[in-house]
Symmetry: C2
Subunit: 150 residues, 2 copies
């Protein structure tokens, strides 16, 4: 069987990126801020659906910990990778559609299911894993969300 | 006066990125889809506030032309760069807060002022200019937008 090292590396990178998204989602669903932040690089930039920004893995953890103990305590998120664009061989722009149930308002009132788009820049690390260098999240309303253009 | 070529290059890149954002906003405000698309690379990926995606400069133009003649015909946008993160010396993640007035619904009803966050990946071109390689836009509601975390 002919070998194709470039295709192999590509497939390996895509799998590693998928693993990082899986870790991110899994940490969300166990409401574990430390594991969640471990998906980010030491100096990552995070911006949430409200445009609020946190810089660095430690601040990403500190930002999420109270929410995982509060409004997101019973939340469940799923995410499906929509696209991976390699900006460089070791840097990628990754889009993932998400859906969330079980979120509450600060007053403890159940929120309806939410959906949106996670937009990552991920960088390959020395061990072959990929970590989040930049993340922007966006919430999409049910009413304004159009089907993706073909 | 001591010279600092690295700082000079950095300043030059920041200025060129600012120019691309200025061109982008200016094209929006003249409702010129061709000029708007010229701020993107040939193979750029664009995703709007509803999560709708278009690939390539020509499709970015085709996507915006009917809106610039329709719902955005009388719209005015302003944008202020919030942050520039150099991913590589010739690749940057750029965030810009935007505000828009004058947009209408498809029925022609005036919409209230809108605001959001443009999140670009820009790449330096051979001529020293920077073009948009990836753009995600997000709308922020007035109610949910928290002040940036310090």
């Amino acid at each position: 069987m002919p070998q194709n090292p470039a295709a192999d590396a590509h497939e390996k990178n895509r799998a590693a990126i998928g693993q990082t998204v899986a870790n991110f989602v899994s940490a969300w669903n166990t409401h574990d801020a430390h594991a969640f932040a471990a998906a980010f690089t030491e100096d990552a930039d995070f911006t949430n659906v409200a445009g609020t920004h946190a810089n660095g893995r430690a601040n990403v953890e500190a930002f999420h910990a109270p929410m995982f103990a509060g409004v997101f305590k019973d939340s469940h998120q799923s995410a499906v990778i929509r696209s991976i664009r390699f900006l460089r061989s070791d840097l990628a722009s990754v889009d993932a559609d998400w859906q969330m149930t079980g979120a509450k308002t600060p007053d403890g009132v159940a929120r309806p299911p939410r959906q949106g788009l996670l937009d990552f820049v991920m960088a390959r690390q020395n061990d072959g894993s990929w970590l989040i260098e930049v993340l922007h999240n966006a919430e999409l309303s049910n009413s304004s969300a159009a089907p993706p253009a073909k």
